[in-house]
Symmetry: none
Subunit: 401 residues, 2 copies
Amino acid sequence: MDIHELTRTLNVNNQAKIVLLVADGLGGLPQEPGGPTELEAANTPNLDKVVERNVCGLIRPVLPGITPGSGPAHLALFGYDPMQYVIGRGAFEALGIGLELDPNDVAARGNFCTVDDDLAITDRRAGRIPTETCERLVQKLRGIHIDGVELVVEPGREHRFVLVLRGPGLQGDVEDTDPQAVGEQPRDAIPRHPGSYRTAKVVHQFVRQAREVLKDEHPANMITLRGFTRRPPIPSMQEVFGLNPAAIAVYPMYRGLALLVGMTVLQPVTDLSEQMEALKNHWDSHDFFFVHYKYTDSTGEDGDFDGKVRHIEYLDTVIPDILALEPSVFIATGDHSTPAKLREHSWHPVPVALAADACRPDLAKRFGERECLNGGLGRLEAKYLLPLALAYAGRLQKFGA
Amino acid sequence: MDIHELTRTLNVNNQAKIVLLVADGLGGLPQEPGGPTELEAANTPNLDKVVERNVCGLIRPVLPGITPGSGPAHLALFGYDPMQYVIGRGAFEALGIGLELDPNDVAARGNFCTVDDDLAITDRRAGRIPTETCERLVQKLRGIHIDGVELVVEPGREHRFVLVLRGPGLQGDVEDTDPQAVGEQPRDAIPRHPGSYRTAKVVHQFVRQAREVLKDEHPANMITLRGFTRRPPIPSMQEVFGLNPAAIAVYPMYRGLALLVGMTVLQPVTDLSEQMEALKNHWDSHDFFFVHYKYTDSTGEDGDFDGKVRHIEYLDTVIPDILALEPSVFIATGDHSTPAKLREHSWHPVPVALAADACRPDLAKRFGERECLNGGLGRLEAKYLLPLALAYAGRLQKFGA
């Protein structure tokens, strides 16, 4: 029996509201030995007050030592085991540019590339063509027609695009056509099992026609495709947790991840103040709100310690607005760590603060990595944070008599 | 999906080196209420410095309350789930005396025993004959020949020996011939499934011939055999973690355990200074080094609190030599606890110190059981220590996008 089997049967809708504020890449490291982390260096009076009066701890996104991408890290925060629900490359790319996938769609990541007269690849990224060129070439690809299949082609940045195949009888599990090496020809799309035979055939036709419409272009005169996948079959948060969840995120990828677990994506927002507006405006319509803040991660990836500190401090200023709505449970955390020192995601556990009525006092006084070692939540697998929020919200009944 | 599935696909060889120093049975208990443990009583300036500047924590060898033997405890430290990979008694005994097992060898533990004229056992250990007598009798057993099977017989201490059957078509899963009671005859070797029929037949022939060559001996005039097992099919550390590992251990059992997971066992060493020599001499040839120190366990088993303290202090003196080699990751820990107070292995969690570049500061100042409660690594299942070391060494890529 896993946690979902429990929450499915034990959840009860008491209208209590939960706000999950995700500061992407929140966890950090000292820039210099002995120094503070970004969060410890930041002046965060509001989050500190939350911690002092409630509980905090550290969450582990996946397993010790495993650095998660945004996909598994968010699935865990949404209450799903990131080892069980894996988002394939194609589906992830589609989410990343805001494409909504139907359960039977097959998505793939595409690259424009350069081939010579023998069709051998000379540049796997076609010299990283400008995004505008990519958009123009994608228009050409949209002219391709294959009987019985709807084709969706969307440009990404530079040489990247996403292909979605929509229609009956399609499955993922087709080998990449990208040989991941120069000097080789793009490969045939080979089905990994009989059920993927039709998909492979469609891909083969698409690639052949793409070559035809691109053959006079330069340098982007061919394509490769990889990561053919359907969206993973994930039960919705309604189904598993009895929630009516909403997402308030600026970036498409996080809206896409929210859609994947059945969240309603609220009105388009472009910054944190609009996100707070959206939260207020839709307060009565939902009982779970995922609010995503990107810049703690992007500054971390830029190695910008001070910038990350400033963004944490800015985020702290909206905490009173959230608390003024009187959520039953408020959680502030990150999906993973992105220490400016490392300039990338890391495996380090992530600080979490949880405010609710039934918090047992702990030993932590403010929000920071070291203080969270004293937190009442201890170490927690991130996937258990949501069931815990349900409990604090009074939304889970007793297990067994 | 388990951690090995992740590490198999995510590992990357960046040449970064990891040293795992295992002080066997390191964890302890106060001898008197309120007193320090062995590690807390020891003067360990070098390990203290490692902890102050890096991270520490406590590892759990198997599950709460479970006291591990050396086999499961080391498998966990090597990154294997000790509940999944179980080393059978026969294979373990063979490892313990330094016998290398081929994957299809079947090993069993043998006892010399005393039987009366009706073949009923009167002494299961043949009066614990001296080891020299055991060696002489093993020479007699080596005279036994069975068609199609190579027999390896190696003496152990006192009445113990190891039998290895080598040849095609052999399997473990044969019932013990040892009835574990006096007054009963040694049992027939009974196959537990059809595949073991041939093994049982070979065992039957061996026992019959052994009785023949021993019948005029006294008191060791018969044998019993138990724990017929092949070595467990364990994927190598190369395969699972992408490491090129080496073991530097004085005692055969630990060299055997290292062989089981694919380590290269370095030149014979007889003490810690030779182990340090070996580490330096082979520094360029491997990227993972397991250094085993036995005496913290043996003094614990002797109930010698002060002796264990002295051995911990001696071990501390070589830490600078290890750090001078500039490993990317250095770990000092134990495989389990062996408190002098209990005179045996125990279930208590084991202190661990980890030194690397990307350590987040924690609240611990020196190396000891109580201080490790404040450690940034928190409580960790021992099997996750190795993936964590890979992460700190930069040898694991991101999971998911």
